[in-house]
Symmetry: C2
Subunit: 254 residues, 2 copies
Amino acid sequence: MSAAQMQSLDCSDCPIRHRAVCSRCEADELEALNVIKYYRSFQAGQPVIWSGDQMTFVGSVVSGIATLTQTMEDGRTQMVGLLLPSDFVGRPGRSGAAYNVVATTDVVMCCFRKKPFEELMVRTPHIAQRLLEMTLDELDAAREWMLVLGRKTAREKIASLMSILARRNASLGPELGPEPGPEEMPGAVSFDLKLTREAMADYLGLTLETVSRQITALKKAGVIRLEGKRHVIVPDMRRLIEEAGDDSDGGLVD
Amino acid sequence: MSAAQMQSLDCSDCPIRHRAVCSRCEADELEALNVIKYYRSFQAGQPVIWSGDQMTFVGSVVSGIATLTQTMEDGRTQMVGLLLPSDFVGRPGRSGAAYNVVATTDVVMCCFRKKPFEELMVRTPHIAQRLLEMTLDELDAAREWMLVLGRKTAREKIASLMSILARRNASLGPELGPEPGPEEMPGAVSFDLKLTREAMADYLGLTLETVSRQITALKKAGVIRLEGKRHVIVPDMRRLIEEAGDDSDGGLVD
DNA sequence: CGCTTCATTGACGACGTTCAAGACATGTGG
DNA sequence: CCACATGTCTTGAACGTCGTCAATGAAGCG
């Protein structure tokens, strides 16, 4: 779906209607958002925002995947966020971007002009409440990630990433995830790996060579299977979670 | 200041009045908070909350330092948050704690009974707004930290930690930070290191031996000086920031 | 077909961990 | 006052994981 095609869509038909920052909004609130919103497309590989730039908008990822990265002067880079559909980009109350946002696949964003959005947020608790909830979720994810970065081995890191992607992919619902292939066991999970080895390395604080080696190792151990380079089949999620070093099943605390 | 001593204090005299979750509140809002609040002390080394436990309260650190940690079954632990005065503990809308919170020094907390606090938050945008702001700040800090964990060398990690502690210590204001000693240069920064080597290791994803070695190395290089084991003097902040691998001066993006 | 991009594999070495011993400070009991 | 235990920190030596450098392979595209 391109930005042009989206433009004609009503919010109530939006694929991320029930998960995005607007999910709590009533009809009149959606209408208020509608007047300050516009859609924008980004091609795979294109930057969405560059660290330090002025931000003229905030918004939601409607489709595609984008990455949030930080870079040191000498080029070392660390991914600090993985933006899937419904995730929010930008920080109200701050004018400059703190991170690089890059479209990893083709991306469509639902953008709100920043100033009007901030004003609207003050008047619309439903938006602020949802944004708080989403920010708290992101903070939890960031903290889980810190354990991965700080304490896990390369192999556990790869298993953790696979586990996260499998879970998030599943939670998008069958219509957004890939169809289960014919040869997959019931209970098996599979997903498309939409990141390059380098992007995975930046996610996990590894080199791309180590990523490649550990993927091969997990494949040889039968923890995952690959179809092509980018489609992953997990025959047994519990096994994968074990390899990730996570004790509990990773179910969310409530 | 003990919990008992705090109990008699009015919110307007509270040392964290202008930074905590209540900082935006008007007099009547403070009064509403006041009826659901109570103070509680924790001795150094004592747990405040254990991961998985039911949370009966949320609240602010009034004085002292606490740590937020995650632990794997085999004992590997990663610190995911360092709680200084005015920082908020607990997540509204969730009943179980996701992390271990441990008092590193003696700690006094201003606690709010969780249920009433959540109800109050719905009616009081000033609280929700401030909480959103604080959560966004924490998310930024977590992301900075991810770069440290994923991409920096042991030496850079230590320098980064020192740099963060020096900065946060300074921002607490002179009355909360230690007095500048007699022999310190103007422009020099100094602070008390209120973490053990092991806590620093858990913060940085290192072993305590590596922490010890790198501190010695920075000392020998003249980047820092030590008075005893726990008081750090930074003769030249720029030098320290260079060692941390941070290009810009670490000033906040606005 | 050559070119580019992405991924795999191997050899080697550095950095940080592991294991172990010892230093130093503080507190306790004989 | 000294002997001894305990907790924190430092230092050394050996090891291993992961990073670095380099060659090769596989897939897509003009």
